[in-house]
Subunit: 135 residues, 2 copies
DNA sequence: GCAGCATTTAGAATTGTTCTAAACTTCTTG
DNA sequence: CAAGAAGTTTAGAACAATTCTAAATGCTGC
C-alpha cells in the first residue's frame, strides 16, 4: 500500500509478526498488487502454485494474525465461509449472489443518515453496508 | 403478524407446507410473539423445552423451508452460524459483538444516498446495513 | 552457533449444517 | 373411512470450514 518499496519482512515485523518464509509468501500474494478479497481456501490454492507451498493451517493462522494485527479485515457475507479483505479502510461491498464475488465501493460517496443510536451500554464499532446483487 | 387469529396450520398450508406437528410447534415459537432472531441451536433448545420435542435436523429443515417460503429471512453477521429472522420486512440490524445479539431497527428512518450502480450484468437484490456495536 | 521461543505442520478434533434411508404422518381418492 | 402415495421426521453418518494438538522446524538475540 505505501508507494515506497514494500519490504514485506519489515512490514510484518512492524506488525509484531516474525517474517517467516510462509508469512512473507502470503503477504506478497495479498499485498503486492491492488486490494483483494480472498478466502482461506483460495489463498491456499494460490500459494500452493508457488515454489513455497504452505499448509492450510498456516494459511488460517496467518489470515487470523494479519486480521488481528490490522493488516486485513474479515468480511462475512454468506453462510459458511469468511472472506479476508486487504482493504482495511472505510468502504462497503457489492456481493454478487450466485458466484460469491465481492467488490469494493468507496464509502465517501455514500451517505447514511438517520441511523438510530446504539443500544444502551454499547458503542458503535463499524457500519457495514452490503449491496446484494444477482446476475 | 396478522391481527387475526394466527391459525398456524393454515398459514403453513398457505406457504405450501404441510402442517405437521413439528412445523406447527416451531411456527408457534417463531411467530406467536413479536419479531425474533433465532439460530437453529437456540430454537432447538426452546422446542425441546416443549411437550413436543423435535430433532435438530427437523429444526434445520423447517428453518430452511420457512426461509424459502418467505416466512423467514436468513441473516449472516458473524462467521460460523446463521440467524433466522421472523421480520421479513425492510429493516436493518444492530449486532452486539461479543454476545452475538441482533436487534432490528426500521429502515424508514435511515437514508442511504449515493450507492453506486450495480456491476454490469447484475440487478440489485437487497441492501443490508449492519451496525456493529460493542459493550 | 546456541538457547529459547515462535512458527509450521499433518492430522485429529470441533462446529455448524446437510445428507441418508428407514420409520412415520399427512393427504388424496375410492 | 380404508388404503396408497407422497411428504416428513429422525438418528446417525457425512461434510465443510475452521481450530487444535503436539512434534518438528525455524527465527532471533546473545
Ligand atoms: Mn477467526
Ligand atoms: Mn441454508
Ligand atoms: Zn473490501
Ligand atoms: Zn431483524
Amino acid at each position: 500500500m505505501p508507494a515506497t518499496s514494500p519490504d514485506f519482512p519489515d512490514r510484518l515485523r512492524a506488525a509484531g509478526l516474525r517474517p517467516t518464509r510462509q508469512r512473507v509468501a502470503l503477504a506478497r500474494l495479498l499485498f503486492e498488487g491492488g486490494h483483494r478479497h480472498v478466502t482461506a481456501e483460495s489463498l491456499h490454492v494460490e500459494v500452493k502454485a508457488t515454489r513455497m507451498p504452505v499448509s492450510l493451517a498456516t494459511v488460517y493462522n496467518a489470515l487470523n494474525q494479519f486480521r488481528d494485527a490490522g493488516l486485513l479485515r474479515e468480511v462475512v457475507v454468506a453462510p459458511g465461509r469468511s472472506y479476508f479483505d486487504t482493504n482495511t479502510g472505510h468502504h462497503h461491498h457489492f456481493f454478487v449472489e450466485p458466484d460469491g464475488e465481492l467488490h469494493d465501493f468507496p464509502s465517501e460517496k455514500v451517505t447514511i443518515a438517520g441511523l438510530p443510536t446504539p443500544p444502551k451500554g454499547t458503542r458503535l464499532a463499524r457500519v457495514d453496508v452490503i449491496v446484494r446483487v444477482r446476475r
